[in-house]
Amino acid sequence: MNIIVFLKQVADTEARIFIKSDQNSLEIENKYNMNFFDEFAVEEAIKIKEKSKDAQVTVCTYGPKRAIEALRTAIAMGADKAVLLNSDGLECDDSLTVSKVLAAFAKNEGLDLILCGRQAIDDESASIGGMVAEFLGVPHVSAILSLDVTDGKTARVESEVEGGKERVEVHLPALLTTQKGLNTPRVPLITGVMKAMKAVIPDVDPTILGLPREEIDPSAAGIRVLSYETPQQRPPVKILEGETPAEKVQGLIKALKEQAKVL
């Protein structure tokens, strides 16, 4: 059974991020991690591998050279193989382009199951999973909470729906996106860390996957960032003055009516 996990290296939640003077690009402190939701995908793939003897887990990312570190983390956790699709000089922000590249990789690799996080925590687009499934013509279930690959041909999946849970059966090959609650991603054992340190991770030019260059060229992007803007700073806390509690409450009601206009 071939399991592919797509992952993304994203800025650490504690990394400092600044908007550059051109207003449409970012300067990010050099602190990157595997995307939070992708950790569940890697863990689940490894769990399946541990249960069935013939499964192989391949992790793959389409991104810059530095993303190899996130692939190493997946190997340390227990993935068998990792591939970097190097985005150097190519479009890698537009989800449609990214999905085309990932789907081309999966088609070349051969697959029974694809797992990836339900969204990346940097752009929050939550669209890659669905798009890749569409390009491959395989079923797709998003944000799964449990997975049981019963016989290698079908999978039973539980996912969250408004107000409850939904259980479905999916024919394989399929693409499933993962979310918090599916499992607890493991902390790598030192044996895994050693394996990951020594692993030679191929740095692949995605143009060899058979996609026409013009489809993944930066000029092919259907979406272009016009500008970034930081969230507005919250106004300072206002302390209501008043001699007695009653006076303060009166002041509060007045402020809610006249300033906040919520009453």
Binding site: R72, A76, P188, L189, I190, A196, M197
Partner: protein
């Protein structure tokens, strides 16, 4: 010159830092407050296999180079210096002499389980009247049949009260000072071997430190850890630089933890209508701390690189231990000033860093002893 970590070392740094953030940092406060050995964390963390860090792969270790060892010591101490002390005792001092001189049987019985965290190791030098002055060791080992009879009391033993075995330093002739010292393996359950007083410490809480009593303890010949009698001090010399650099790395770890707390506070705390990090006198503290920490880091890692390369590292190791620890004391002090009065409250973290930093003054040699050693070495006989 190349100061960069290799890609492998960088990956190791990131992985161990992440592991510490996930497993140790959330428990650091509780470890300090309870001041009990964190058995559950010990089981979970040691289960990852890091205790074999510096030993060869064929023995189940990782064969990590000295730079990687420093990265590990620094990161674990950043999480909890109390927990780090217990972990590092098993990794380095508590197991080294078994690795170097232990018979196959001893390695199987003690070393390998200790590398997995199944057994807790310790090494005992210090006595109530001697620490840095090893020549004043009063614990004796006397030849008795096919073995040795050991008598004495050891003090300030990290992991002592909970250890499964210890490497104990004893003299065969108290009149001969440094020339009569040897190491012996003593295992829990050996008649006459018992634990005494547990020391309640100001900092580094959570690691259990105390007294070990050897009352007519008999051990067989194979428990003498050394190929030649009276060479104990020479054997200690084999790991002395690593021990000192390790203490420096731990100091760096504590300093980084304290620095991060200070930075977060300076960015968030509002005074006179703006974050206090905007005031020049507060910024000056960060400039100073960053400069000192970078200097300490260069010394510790240069020492580690030199040690790995087989260069002469004795002076730099002593200097790095001393400097990094003094920098750590300065950083924790600045943290308490930036934090203001809250730093004085048990409710917040600064007091923990402040207390923890003090202990690093003593392990690996007091600074008075180290300075004298460095000066004496440089000036030579005059």
């Amino acid at each position: 010159m190349n100061f960069a970590l290799t890609e492998g070392q960088e990956f190791f740094r990131k992985t161990i830092a992440d592991t510490v953030d996930r497993m140790i940092v959330p428990k650091a406060r509780e470890i300090d407050e309870k001041d009990e050995f964190p058995w559950e964390l010990w089981k979970d963390f040691t289960g990852l296999g890091y205790l074999g860090l510096r030993y060869p792969e064929q023995d189940g270790g990782m064969n990590a180079d000295k730079v990687m060892c420093m990265i590990f010591y620094e990161e674990v101490a950043r999480g909890s210096v109390g927990f780090a002390q217990s972990v590092i005792m098993n990794i380095l001092m508590g197991t080294y002499f078994l690795f170097r001189f232990g018979s196959d049987e001893i390695q199987k019985r003690c070393l390998y389980p200790a590398m997995k965290g199944e057994k807790i190791a310790t090494m005992c030098f210090t006595e109530d009247q001697s620490g840095s002055d090893l020549g004043a060791t009063r614990t004796t080992a006397v030849k008795d049949g096919d073995g040795w009879r050991i008598n004495g009391t050891k003090m300030w033993i990290t992991n002592g009260p909970i250890c499964d075995f210890c490497t104990v330093l004893a003299t065969t002739d108290p009149g001969k000072g440094l020339k009569a010292l040897n190491f012996y393996l003593v295992e829990k359950g050996t008649p006459g071997f018992s634990t005494g007083q547990v020391i309640e410490k100001l900092g580094c809480r959570g690691t259990v430190t105390g007294e070990l009593v050897f009352d007519n303890v008999w051990v067989p010949n194979e428990n003498l850890l050394g190929s030649e009698l009276g060479k104990g001090v020479v054997y200690v010399g084999e790991i002395l630089d690593e021990v000192r650099l390790m203490t420096g790395a731990m100091a760096l770890g504590v300093a980084r933890g304290a620095y991060a707390e200070a930075l977060e506070f300076a960015r968030k705390r509002i005074a006179f209508g703006q974050p206090i990090g905007k005031f020049q006198l507060v910024r000056e503290k960060f400039a100073e701390m960053d400069m000192l920490m970078n200097a300490a880091r260069l010394m510790v890692y240069y020492g580690a690189w030199l040690l790995e390369a087989g260069g002469e590292s004795r002076l730099i190791a002593a200097e790095a231990k001393m400097y990094a620890t003094e920098v750590c004391l300065k950083v924790v002090d600045e943290l308490t000033r930036i934090y203001g009065a809250n730093a004085f409250a048990y409710e917040y973290n600064p007091q923990r860093y402040f207390r923890d930093a003090r202990f690093l003054l003593y392990g690996g040699g007091t600074h008075e002893v180290l300075k004298d050693f460095i000066g004496r070495t440089i000036v030579g006989k005059v």
